[in-house]
Amino acid sequence: MTTVLVVIVFTTAYILIATERIHRVAAALGGAAMMVVLGVVNAEVAFFSERTGVDWNVIFLLLGMMIMVGVLRQTGVFEFVAIWAAKRAKGRPFAIMVMLIVLTAVASALLDNVTTVLLVAPVTLLLCDRIDAPPVPFLIAEVMASNIGGTATLIGDPPNIIIAAKSGLSFNDFVLNLAPIVVVLLLVFIVMARVMFRSAFTFHPEKVEALMALDEREAITDRKLLIKSMVVLLAVMIGFVSHSALHLEPSMVALLGAGALVAISKLDVSDCIADVEWSTLVFFMGLFIMVGALIEVGVIGTISKAATEAVDGKYFLASTVLLFASGALSGIVDNIPYVATMAPLVADLVSSGGGDAGANAAWWSLALGADLGGNATAVGASANVVVLGIAARNGHPISFWQFTKYGLIVAAVTISIAWGYVALRYFMFA
């Protein structure tokens, strides 16, 4: 009976999160509270169990990165790079779009996607204003580049952070397995953008002067802080790359970096933590407790057993289903709760493969599907919603279908290419 009630609570909370009938934090915390009321979750299960509790590695990795981004954004470096790149493109709209796509994708691989688009969107509007180009295609291209670029690393997208925590895969594992296909996908996306947004690339030579008159150096608000931030960020990246050798979890690396940056920045601490999205962190905690309850009552174990039996060693089929189903679902529902729920299932599936490369491919299929699927619709990823809000506020509203008509194509093409990559790398040439 308790198991049935736990499933009902979980499903209800999930529906509320997906439909946004109430705030997602309220839904996740309400669900977690119900699990406590049902007697399935106690302090030990919720806070101290590695198997069923809140994954503090995920929480503190996100917290550390949010603090570092909060400091870094105060330097004006993103504005500087975007304007510098646009000036190198000499006002040619497509060249500027390519520069912005690459900048956004690289930044998203290293930082949170929402933060990246929040930083890049305003300067994009400025650039489009200067060259008299319609900003909507640029904004859509950027957010899609952000979702693609974020797929490349462990820290690029929250689903990847959850997968890393549940799988034990390292930062380098993510880079070696996902970054190559992300580079290919970005190149394909640039070609697609050239075709999809072709009407936006009218060149106005008379506007070049207005663009070139912008002084990107003025965007840097604090040079000393920029240098300090870059040094710390470089050290953090080195820490991520070598975290396995150093026996340091990525969360520890991020926290050390955040602590060091706060200490040397001489900024007010409240300014440093102003950009921390506490609601997102609490949402994660609620989710982990709800999923932990499913594990505790044996639901995840039962489904895992059934899935493992159904797969019966056919890992290519499993990866294919996982990739496309994750892509489709992530376009409709938030990919964070989806991955949080799927991660324990995939962990069991992979462990049943006993280190088989094909079994491990399930992790990459989950990551690629969940991350790339976010491009499918206007509500597929948090970054999409943020950009739509910025566009509307600036008098360039993007409708759900205006975004989705491009998003469906981009998601379908990128996920199909990713499937080919998984098939070739982990099955045909494994």
Partner: protein, 154 residues
Amino acid sequence: MRARELAEQFPIVSLTTNALTAARTMGDQRHPGLIVCDGEGHPHTVLPGSQVLRFMIPSYIQDDPALARVYDERGSDELLTKLSTKTVQELLPKRQDRDELPVVDPDATSLEVAAVMVQMRSPVVAVVDEDKQVLGAITLSRLFQVLFPAVPEA
């Protein structure tokens, strides 16, 4: 002191007044806002100077003020010329975003005027009679002058 005694002559513009003209009026006469009347001369709203700035400065610069630094003089001037093709009506926030009018009757006390200013977050309050005609306006500085009179030096 009552509102009728506090009220001063104040420039009034209509909804169709050119936005640049309205902004210049504010600047020339050093007023923090203007009273906007409808076609029948009844007060429609108060246009605060901050609203003119909000319209003039693109939202992307409001989102990221660091971008304001990258403009050269010419670029800044281009932003300001946006006003010349607009009317006062176009500067005003959409109806649903607008509070009710910052208006007091001539018998309102200075404290009532202060309360309306705080409630409406308006630096100007119009003084309107029973026939809905504007008698004048009370600015924040005028109110402060009355509330905190200068102390003669010993």
